[in-house]
């Protein structure tokens, strides 16, 4: 009887000790360095990648065509869903391909939105919307200058003509010069 009691006691003590160790290990699992959706390093990395993607797209000249890839009759981005935004990935342009290659395969979600000056303040148009960003989302911004004679993606003319018809998302502000407007492209990136 006594030996059995000692054995049981030993087991009980071991269980308690191991539970303590297990609990401690579980607690260690949440450090800022742990791989998770909220890891600071991942945030920094994603911010740098987002920034780099935008800078490269601007330098290659692929950002501007994506901004004017517009269907003037449907008044939405060409090939976008019924609500006028791309939801499954980037737009079917070179910039969209870059976004998909950079983020899509790594299970990183991204939103792209364009903001611009309007006569009364600022307007914002969503280009890609993959959902509401998480708390750990990071954003990168780049400004792109559009000119009146930039051709609209559906081949119907240029942006100033489309804007004059009210068929483009932004309106022309500087009626005199060749400048159409300064568009601010913002991509928001987070891990899913």
């Amino acid at each position: 009887m006594r030996a059995q009691a000692h054995t049981l006691e030993g087991f009980a003590a071991a269980v308690i000790l191991l539970s303590g160790v297990l609990f401690a290990l579980q607690a260690t699992a949440v450090t800022p360095l742990t791989a998770s959706t909220s890891n600071q390093h991942i945030e920094n990395q994603q911010a740098a990648v987002a920034e780099g993607t935008l800078a490269a797209a601007e330098a290659n000249g692929t950002l501007r065509p994506a901004l004017v890839y517009w269907n003037t009759s449907g008044e939405r981005f060409r090939g976008s869903g019924s609500d006028g935004v791309y939801t499954a990935g980037g737009p079917p342009t070179a910039f969209g391909d870059t976004l998909n290659e950079t983020f899509g395969q790594d299970r990183i979600a991204f939103n792209v939105e364009v903001s611009y000056r309007t006569s009364g303040g600022r307007g914002r148009t969503r280009m890609v919307y993959m959902g509401s960003p998480s708390d750990n989302a990071v954003a990168a911004t780049r400004t792109v200058v559009l000119f009146d004679d930039d051709p609209v993606g559906d081949g119907t003319g240029n942006v100033s003509a489309a804007a004059a018809d009210g068929a483009f998302y932004a309106g022309a502000l500087d009626a005199e010069g060749p400048l159409f407007g300064v568009m601010e492209v913002r991509i928001i990136v987070w891990r899913i």
């Binding site: 009691a5 000692h6 006691e9 009980a12 000790l17 609990f23 360095l33 911004t141 780049r142 601010e184």
Partner: protein, 354 residues
């Protein structure tokens, strides 16, 4: 451990009495104590790691925003300059041209300033102190579908486009030289025998650089061959080619059909950064190529467009020149709480990269 021994004074039937539950409690308490100590250690380590992480969290000083602003200014100003030039102001309207460029730049500055302001930065491009460099836009209004031969106003096939173009500082004197050529109009030639082909010559009187555009006799593709300055004609080498019914040759940007063509650097050493001599731009065998072209040359200093060969007023069929802004320089400044960036930017879109 003493309790594990059988107590000498107790009899064998005494098991299970008094001390057994006590020992169980002791083990339990020890287990809890150990667990608490481990958790405390973990928390300490975690805090240390987190503190270090916070202390070393560094996203730079915001230099990416500065570079983004700079590239937007340069890109936007370049677009405005080129578009105002393309409006084709008359000969005496240079003031009007420069005024309109300034207005466009002011509108651009206003929008970029607002955009920077929303990122807690102050950005300013000082258009009041903008310095203009005079130039001329030379163009021939053909297209690939409606081509015109690259001959002079007098239909000469060998002619001079511009003379004594002078470089200044780190800038060149020819920019945005882009031609669209119709493949069927080109001479059939090869790099070993290019003399019949259309070519552009850049010369300073002693040395000359040639760029030949022809239809490659064996492949049928549009090809560009280059003869470097100071080399004999036998040193001509084909640098790139593209198979298409028509092709865009960017002599200053160095591309053919939209694809980079690394061997094509307008003027070679004759127009390179090492030289300060003026150079002439000539066309040879202009009847062996057709399409349209644009180039902007720097006419500040002694540079000038060849008046006899290029019409001074816009014309449908002949090459002509109109006043243009070759380059513009203005100071920009970008300030945040962490970084101050000030520079005088020079905008001359489509210049050859040195």
């Amino acid at each position: 451990m003493a309790d594990l021994r059988v107590k000498l004074g107790s009899d064998g039937g005494n098991e299970g009495s008094g001390d057994e539950p006590d020992r169980g409690q002791l083990v339990l308490v020890a287990g809890f104590a150990l667990a608490v100590v481990l958790v405390a250690l973990v928390l300490l380590a975690n805090t240390a790691i987190f503190t270090e992480n916070l202390a070393t969290r560094d996203n730079g000083v915001g230099e990416r925003d500065v570079l983004g602003y700079r590239s937007s200014v340069v890109d936007g100003a370049g677009g405005i300059v080129d578009r105002e030039n393309a409006v084709e102001y008359a000969d005496g309207e240079r003031d009007l041209l420069e005024g309109n460029v300034s207005d466009g730049l002011a509108a651009l500055d206003s929008q970029l300033r607002e955009s920077a302001g929303r990122n807690a930065a102050s950005a300013r491009a000082d258009m009041e102190s903008a310095a203009f460099t005079n130039g001329s836009l030379v163009r021939q209004n053909g297209t690939a579908a409606d081509p015109r031969q690259f001959t002079s106003t007098g239909s000469a096939e060998n002619w001079t486009v511009a003379t004594d173009l002078e470089r200044a500082g780190d800038g060149n004197a020819t920019r945005a030289f882009v031609a669209v050529v119709n493949t069927s109009s080109l001479a059939n030639a090869s790099a070993s025998d290019p003399t019949d082909a259309f070519h552009v010559v850049v010369t300073n009187g002693t040395e000359s650089w040639h760029a030949y555009v022809y239809e490659n006799g064996s492949s049928g593709a549009v090809a560009v061959a280059v003869k470097s300055a100071g080399e004999p004609a036998s040193a001509t080498t084909q640098v790139c080619s593209v198979s298409a019914p028509n092709a865009t040759v960017d002599f200053t940007g160095g591309s053919l059909g939209g694809v980079d063509c690394p061997g094509l650097a307008f003027g070679g050493d004759v127009a390179g950064s090492a030289t300060t001599d003026g150079y002439d731009v000539l066309v040879r065998n202009g009847d062996r190529a057709a399409g349209g072209y644009d180039l902007t040359v720097r006419t500040a200093g002694s540079g000038s467009v060849s008046a006899g060969n290029v019409s001074a007023t816009p014309s449908a069929d002949e090459p002509y020149s109109v006043p243009a802004v070759y380059a513009i320089e203005f100071p920009i400044e970008y300030r945040t709480s962490e970084v101050t960036y000030a520079e005088t930017v020079r905008v001359a879109p489509g210049e050859r990269d040195d």
